[in-house]
């Protein structure tokens, strides 16, 4: 396995990446740049899209590196990832669009 030959440096690399992204998110959340707050895209602020993209990047590092899924067999990788990648966006699409719809009906 890869981790047997590699040292610990990759762990700390991932740690610094996660820490940097989190700090960046918090800074954005406090400063709230007006360009990102005032631009509305797909029903929400551009800032929220930035947060969501950064969160997905963090999630990818945790799953692929820390949980070691990136180094597993490709069949296992997709067995784990596909159900989530199909069902979660589907769930979000249904619930968020229905939420917006009930708002219009209120």
């Amino acid at each position: 396995m890869a981790s047997e030959t590699k040292g610990n440096w990759w762990i700390w690399k991932v740690f610094w990446i996660l820490l940097f992204i989190t700090t960046f998110e918090v800074a954005l959340g406090i400063i709230k740049p007006s360009f990102l707050v005032d631009t509305i895209f797909l029903g929400t602020k551009l800032l929220n899209h930035v947060f969501i993209i950064l969160t997905i990047i963090k999630a990818a590092y945790i799953i692929l590196q820390f949980m070691h899924l990136g180094h597993e067999k490709v069949t296992l990788k997709w067995t784990i990832l596909l159900p989530a990648l199909i069902l979660v966006p589907y769930l979000l699409f249904i619930l968020l669009s229905e939420g917006a719809y009930t708002y219009l009906m209120l």
Binding site: M1, S3, E4, N8, I11, W12, V14, F15, L18, L19, T22, T23, E25, V26, G29, I30, G43, T44, N48, F51, I52, T55, K58, A59, I62, I63, F66, M67, E72, K73, T75, L76, T79, I80, P83, A84, L87, V88, L91, L92, L95, L96, E98, G99, A100, T102, Y103, L106
Partner: protein
């Protein structure tokens, strides 16, 4: 099945149905942990998606997270996001110590596994303590609110700036005593202190006179703090989701800490040393990273967005 036959089956990839063949090249235990984590992913996704549903249903009156979670232990003033950022850091850090424990497990270095596993438990415990503080603060409340017949909560403001019921009533919200105010007391106070007014749930500020008229007509009770039925921050669902989602995640962290302690005892006793591999540490590690992963999303959707 004797060992020679077992070996032959694996080597020739003969009947996979009889076991011994690992198409995923992962052990049964690890595979089942992954399958459990998929189901848990879908559970948490459903929670966060339904939180999104409610937010999209009440976009005008949903509480602003930065008005709610704005305090840091032992610090005065407003510090939005800082405390949860610290909690995130603690959980990421404990994830790092967990990977290190798994890594030293592969190398069969028992003492280092014990060290890093212990630090992971400490990180988990600190996170749980932080969450207890966060819950305590949320339940006790901060600025107070006034419930109205429309079931929308309005807040006390000073001009165009959010103030608090305590400031209006000249009381200290954090002196440890149990406060109780009536709507009449608040209205009397508003009449006596014309610099105060209210902010409606849709973030509209009323003048002092309009505020008094509005409260006379609509106000039903003064809310201090939060429970499952109503809360001072806004829509009742806001507190319900907060308790449910962070509570469910906190329970995961709690069970994670318990499981880690059991595994640590086994490591110290030398169970895995005798077994010849530290795969159990790896499997629990998967669960622990998952708890970190969920928090990353809770952090984004509850506190940032």
């Amino acid at each position: 099945m004797d060992e020679a036959l077992d070996e032959a089956l694996v080597k020739d990839h003969k009947p996979a149905w009889k076991g011994g063949d690992q198409p995923y090249e992962a052990s049964y235990g690890k595979l089942m942990m992954w399958f459990f984590l998929i189901t848990d992913t879908l559970t948490f996704s459903a929670f966060l998606a339904s939180y999104g549903f409610s937010r999209f249903k009440y976009p005008d009156i949903w509480p602003n997270p930065e008005d709610v979670f704005s305090h840091f232990p032992f610090l005065h003033g407003e510090h939005p996001l800082l405390f949860v950022a610290l909690m995130t850091f603690i959980l990421i850090m404990s994830s790092v110590t967990m990977v290190l424990a798994v890594n030293y497990g592969h190398k069969m270095q028992k003492k280092k596994v014990i060290l890093w596993l212990s630090l992971t438990i400490v990180g988990g415990a600190i996170f749980l303590g932080s969450q207890a503080w966060e819950w305590g603060h949320f339940i006790h409340g901060d600025k107070g609110g006034i419930n109205t017949q429309t079931e929308h909560v309005v807040h006390i403001a000073e001009g165009e700036k959010l103030s608090s019921v305590y400031a209006l009533m000249g009381a200290d919200g954090h002196d440890g005593t149990h406060h109780h105010f009536t709507v009449d007391q608040v209205i009397t106070s508003l009449e006596a202190n014309p610099q105060y007014n209210i902010r409606k749930a849709n973030r509209m500020y009323l003048t002092n006179e309009d505020a008094i008229a509005y409260l006379r007509e609509n106000a039903s009770e003064v809310l201090l703090g939060a429970n499952l039925k109503n809360n001072e921050y806004g829509h009742p669902l806001f507190a319900d989701y907060f308790f449910f989602i962070t509570g469910f995640h906190g329970f995961h962290v709690f069970s994670g800490v318990i499981i880690l302690i059991i595994i640590l005892i086994n490591v110290i006793k030398g169970t895995y040393e005798r077994r010849g591999h530290y795969e159990m540490v790896e499997k629990v590690g998967l669960y622990w990273h998952f708890v970190d992963l969920v928090w990353v999303f809770v952090f984004t959707f509850f506190y940032l967005v």
